[in-house]
Amino acid sequence: MPPFIRVSGLSKSYGGVHALKRVCMDIAKGEIHALCGENGAGKSTLIKSLTGVVIPEEGTISIDGKPLPPGNVQASEAAGIAVIHQESTAFPSLNTLDNIFVGREPFTAGGLFLDKARMRGEATKMLKRLGQNFDIDCPVIELSVAQRQMVAMARALSQKCEFLILDEPTASLSAKETDSLLAIVRQLRNEGVTILYVSHRLEEIFEIADRVTVLRDGERVDTQSVANLNRSALIFLMVGRELEELTQRHEHAGEPGEVRLEVLGLTNPGVFENIDLRIQAGEIVGLAGLVGAGRSEIARAIFGLDRYSKGKVKVNGQMLTGGSVKQAMSAGLSLVPEDRQHEGLILPMSVGANLSMAVLGKLTNRGLVDPRLERDLVEKLMSDLLIKAASQEFPAETLSGGNQQKLVIGKWIAAKPQVLILDEPTRGVDIAAKAQVHRLIRNLASKGLATLIISSDMNEVLSISDRIIVMREGRISGEIRGREATRELVLDLALPQEKEVLA
């Protein structure tokens, strides 16, 4: 029996750089096939070729023995291929009904008008199949991320999809939502849908997939049955070498010094309540919790980007009035935001301009920017942080993900902070760059920087923190010393209590 999906000799390059190099892979009917690889390994290009968004230069794709015309979205859809992206594709201001059917609406007999009754019926049926029950007339912007993903899933199912591609579907879901998503994926497989599952979260792959294909630098490295692999073997395939640092526990060098950041009773009703934090010089504190527990919101409030209704923030003993980034910065606080592409960097501006952005006011001579001061600072930061860029004049967007992340960190180190808050510092960064970032953070801490790390990556929190503070639904649910922390302990504090009762 021929494989359901056969990709043979697929190549695609962007401006001379190969994104895919003669990639071949087979996917059997009814399996959950995982696709792994570091950022830039060619996963998204492969997906885009399958869905017809990208026209490959070489090679063919066939589904069920029939060749798929390249670069034709409609043809891919007609062949039963559907994709659900990281940030699930959606029309925010339209309702669920439109989101499910736009582009291939059912018509009434005459072919002129929409068959609303049928749309409604099918939508309700699909959502029921997914175990969902929410208002289908509500604009999807008012739904939760998980619900939006279900809308995307319903869309895929309603188009009689036989081959479903899930591209990082759990990236912004909570653990509970992830569990129910995985359950649905399994159910779909049992109903005969073939699934290509792309994820950075290796545990999910081991939990759900039958086989896994690993890409590295645009080439297929291997396809293996998941049963034959373990975590480190898979990481080995992805990076081509083993990385000890990731699993190594951090041993704190010296005794922490004086209190640098003190937060007392910080409250923003409905978002976070009664938050107390104390971080000392040289200490790395991890802030763990599920997505949506209010961690990024706390960081933004401390930094003065958002207002809060009650509470005090003291940096270096100086009380902040709140709502002023400038004041927070001058007190010695820096925030490396969650989303480097949209919050951390100004991508079209040069590497140099990005690095000096936060301190430009100080690099002046009689009110004008002193180019020499600026260049010196930028050069020093680039060499200190091992930022790889052709030149400091090049736009930040030309850098790789890991280098961009170092750029954001560098930008804030330039401000010589005494307290550094890092929000998801290694999300979407490949494993090698991740290790570099971790080394950098430890280095800074050993020089006396007080660090707060918000991360959804459990390994990261466990390996780097001296102390872990766990949040649950906008409140601090507990604190664990770094040495004593285990996955189970952290998860227990992070998961909503009701769920325990239900389970």
């Binding site: 925010p92 201001s93 291939r104």
Partner: protein, 326 residues
């Protein structure tokens, strides 16, 4: 949802309330405001704005903007006059009027092509056309006004059928057609979709170019339609026709609650806004503030846009906060 927040959230309720309040207070000063003749006059004044607003609304729904309709109307009026006037080319109006509609559609499609294929932002294209078409109009008319339109046309547009001028019937037809397009056809839902998210629209294989071209061409067609049914009411065609019309139409679309970034809006709201904006001038007249009062019309229209956008932003902010609470 309590009454106040519904008033704020649903633009139609707020607009209805404002219209009723203004209508009632003016009628209180002078009951003549509610006289049949005056109301009929008000509806006639609404007609061309409503017709064109139906098109511009679709353009704004797709996330674009069109501020060239006033100049386009002038150009089409001039061309129409040149064609069918007894003192000019004297072409039969059964040929000249469809030709005017066709020209309007073509200019609209051209605008759309510049936006979609030429990738020039619509604000720039239509800002450019706003001046260029006006210049073209003056050039064509060469400083003379055009009169001598066929009598039959003047009769129909002035007195019309069943007691209402033809422009009002046309407006009703356009409103029904546009309403059906928006709610009952895939085309309409896709226009919303493109405005809601271009990226998603591309991912589901919608043809953004074709959809936007349609919206612009439809606007051009409707501008032609409004010209044909409304302009012949005037004693003569001047180059100054439609100055400021584009602003009035955009005002109605925005005040009517259509999101300027696309993807959200209701036809009902736009029509109510047309009524509100059109009633300001007669209301000022009836309030007996005389000539001096009417000079404030534009200021009041401007205030209404500001009021509309401020409430809109407050509502948005509240909605965001509500989301946070969830």
């Amino acid at each position: 949802m309590n009454f106040m927040s519904r008033l704020l959230r649903q633009r139609e309720y707020g607009l209805t309330a404002v219209i009723l309040i203004i209508g009632a207070s003016v009628a209180f000063i002078d009951t003549g405001f509610l006289a049949a003749g005056n109301l009929k006059d008000l509806i006639i004044r609404c007609a061309p704005t409503a017709i064109v607003a139906c098109g511009v609304m679709l353009v704004v729904l797709t996330g674009e903007i069109d501020i060239s309709v006033g100049s386009l109307m002038a150009l089409l009026a001039a061309l129409m006059g040149m064609m069918i006037s007894e003192t000019r080319m004297e072409i039969s109006m059964w040929l000249g009027l469809p030709a005017t509609l066709l020209l309007g559609t073509l200019v609209g499609a051209f605008t759309g092509a510049l936006v979609t294929l030429g990738k020039v932002p619509s604000i720039i294209v239509t800002l450019g056309l706003l001046t260029a078409l006006r210049g073209l109009t003056t050039l064509i008319m060469g400083g003379n006004n055009i009169d001598g339109l066929p009598d039959g046309l003047g009769q129909m547009t002035k007195y019309g059928v069943l007691g209402m001028p033809i422009s009002v019937w046309t407006a009703i037809a356009v409103i029904i057609v546009t309403g059906v397009i928006i709610t009952k056809t895939a085309l309409g839902r896709r226009l919303f979709a493109v405005g809601s998210s271009r990226y998603s629209a591309k991912m589901v294989g919608l043809n953004e170019t074709r959809l936007k071209l349609f919206a612009f061409a439809y606007t051009g067609f409707l501008t032609g339609l409004a010209t044909v049914v409304d302009v012949p009411r005037l004693p003569k065609i001047e180059a100054g026709i439609g100055i400021g019309f584009e602003l009035l139409v955009i005002t109605c679309v925005v005040v009517g609650g259509v999101s300027i970034s696309g993807g959200r809006g209701k036809l009902r709201g736009v029509l109510l806004a047309v009524l509100l904006m059109t009633m300001i001038r007669p209301a000022l007249t009836f309030m007996d503030v005389g000539e001096s009062g009417e000079k404030w019309t534009r200021a009041i229209q401007g205030m209404f846009i500001l009021l509309a956008v401020i409430t809109d932003s407050i509502v948005q902010r509240r909605r965001k906060r509500r989301l946070h609470d969830l």
